[in-house]
């Protein structure tokens, strides 16, 4: 059953990824990206990583896709169609991607991954909160603080960049 669900999610991810990069209507591409991100959250839920799946749903498919849709609506018309890809460019890029994927998958198929069945670390929300704020062994308080400063800097930078300059024409 889980296997079947995984295959469905994988198919959704692959099909909608391809549609995201090939669709000529930009708003549709954004919606296809939303499907990809939701299916990824599905994989996280399937792995029992509930909190990560929730973060993926809220931040990625909730926040980022809405930002992208806003940007699209501010910069393009609804009916705007992107120019078709030049054949030579498309073929070169597709070849490059295919070769890269083939090499990577070949290399990975050679490596013997052995899934370990040791006892799983507890990953309920309480545990994650404790880990995020602990500074002992396996504590993540430094990256947590660094990312909070980064988010603040990004927020200020986004406002400064996007606001209309007063003096400029």
């Amino acid at each position: 059953m889980e296997k079947l669900i995984f295959y469905i999610l994988a198919a959704v991810i692959l099909v909608f990824s391809v549609l995201t990069v090939t669709s000529r209507k930009i708003l549709r591409a954004a919606v296809y990206l939303l499907f990809v991100l939701v299916a990824t959250a599905g994989i996280y839920f399937l792995l029992n990583y509930n909190f990560l799946g929730a973060v993926q749903l809220t931040v990625y498919s909730g926040g980022i896709v809405v930002l992208i849709v806003f940007a699209i609506l501010l910069t393009a018309h609804m009916e705007h169609k992107l120019d078709p890809v030049k054949p030579i460019k498309g073929i070169t890029a597709a070849l490059l991607a295919l070769v890269g994927a083939a090499v990577s998958i070949f290399a990975m198929s050679q490596y013997p991954f052995t899934a370990r069945t040791t006892e799983e670390a507890p990953y309920d929300i309480e545990m994650i909160g404790t880990k995020l704020l602990s500074y002992g062994e396996n504590g993540y308080v430094l990256p947590f603080e660094v990312i909070s400063v980064l988010l603040l800097a990004a927020m200020v930078a986004a406002i400064i960049i996007a606001k209309k300059s007063v003096s400029n024409d």
Partner: protein
């Protein structure tokens, strides 16, 4: 752990997703679609971290935490990128990567 699914199966999915993103990055001209391709790439890398954490090191949380931080950084990156794109649009009335060459020479 997903029954009947190994590390390799998930890695194939995420690798294909990564290279679909690379294809989109190379082919597209519109800055927003390029940003969407980058999001695809970041997302596939997150899947990798999570799957390695779950299958190979189930007694630790490194991959979990790393992908959580990566999601946060992706959000920051998208916000700044969209601010830049909107500014470019305001200055040049087009967001094709070809037209954005003011700082080139």
């Amino acid at each position: 752990m997903i029954e009947g699914i190994g590390v390799f199966d998930v890695l194939v999915v995420s690798t294909l997703m990564f290279f679909i993103g690379v294809y989109g990055f190379l082919v597209r001209k519109n800055l927003i679609t390029i940003l969407m391709s980058v999001e695809l790439i970041l997302n596939s890398v997150n899947i990798n971290f999570v799957i390695f954490n779950k299958y190979l090191y189930p007694d630790m949380l490194q991959g979990y935490m790393f992908s959580m931080f990566a999601i946060g950084i992706a959000a920051a990156e998208a916000a700044v990128a969209i601010a830049i794109i909107l500014n470019v649009f305001r200055k040049m009335t087009s967001i094709d990567a070809d037209n954005v060459d003011t700082m080139k020479y």
